[in-house]
Amino acid sequence: MFPTQGGDDKLDSLWRAYRAACPDQEPSANFMPGLWQRIEARRNFAFSFQRMVRGFVTVAAALTIAIGVYVSLPSPTPASETNYLEALAEANALDTPENIGPVRLDWNEPRR
């Protein structure tokens, strides 16, 4: 099977013999139709995937705009215009009659 000379020559002739033993293969009649079928299938898949991605992007953009508009709109309740301290001061004003009346001492209170 192998030539008997030096290693490299031996391998080189083996490669040549192998090349001759494996000639280029003839394509079958179905090669081109099969190839175009696969191209079409891949193209259709890529197209439907692109369409799906485009749909997702459109929905995401619409949602972002809607949320942006909602957040930027002024709130109809007046509570948001006054802050917490102002509201508290208004509810417990210092100049109400019970706060400005005379101080009364209760003598019945037990002495310590």
Partner: protein, 192 residues
């Protein structure tokens, strides 16, 4: 080049007729290369179609038509390598898995079809395949591209995008391993 640069340019612009022309020009050579790389005749067409499929969808990435052939070789090597990796994961179907009746039928078919010359070629193919089985798939593909397909180191450099010296080292080691296996097989033949 088996086709004009202009044909490649037209195919890059989406011309189906130009792409067809390319496939018709290169399919036989590609089938031959794949046949030698994967050593399984039944799957050669499938892998070759995969090569041209990848070519169709990647032609727009090709910078200039001048590098078309290394590009196609690169796709061929990658597709063959992917196939070999998939095959490694799949359990191989061996003669020992067949029933006795199936083995007898297979032998009968082989005996009736193949003449002496074809038997010799088959034996040689099997021997080389078993010798190449002693090195990794990547080295096997590289060695076949260099020694059997006859590509130069410069061409391989373009295909693999690796420096020539690194390729030389890898090829030398692969050759040494095959040579070693070759010697072992020879000694076994002499003893047996």
């Amino acid at each position: 080049m088996l086709v004009e640069f202009e044909t490649v340019r037209r195919a890059q612009q989406g011309d189906s007729a130009a792409f067809n022309e390319i496939v018709l020009a290169y399919r036989k050579r590609t089938l031959g290369t794949i046949g030698r790389l994967i050593a399984r005749t039944e799957d050669v067409e499938d892998v070759a179609q995969e090569v041209f499929l990848r070519l169709y969808f990647s032609l727009d990435q090709l910078r200039t038509p001048e590098v078309f052939e290394p590009w196609l070789y690169r796709l061929t090597v990658n597709a063959a390598y992917d196939y070999l990796r998939k095959q490694r994961r799949r359990p191989e179907f061996r003669m020992s898995d067949l029933s006795e009746q199936q083995v007898m039928m297979a032998d009968a078919v082989a005996g009736s079809k193949a003449d002496h010359d074809e038997q010799q070629k088959k034996k040689l193919r099997e021997t080389v395949d078993s010798l190449l089985g002693t090195i990794s798939e990547a080295d096997r593909v590289l060695l076949l591209m260099k020694e059997v397909e006859g590509l130069s180191l410069r061409e391989l450099e373009k295909i693999y995008r690796v420096k020539e010296n690194a390729l030389k080292v890898r090829l030398f080691r692969a050759r040494q391993r095959v040579l070693k296996a070759c010697g072992a097989a020879e000694r076994q033949n002499q003893n047996g």
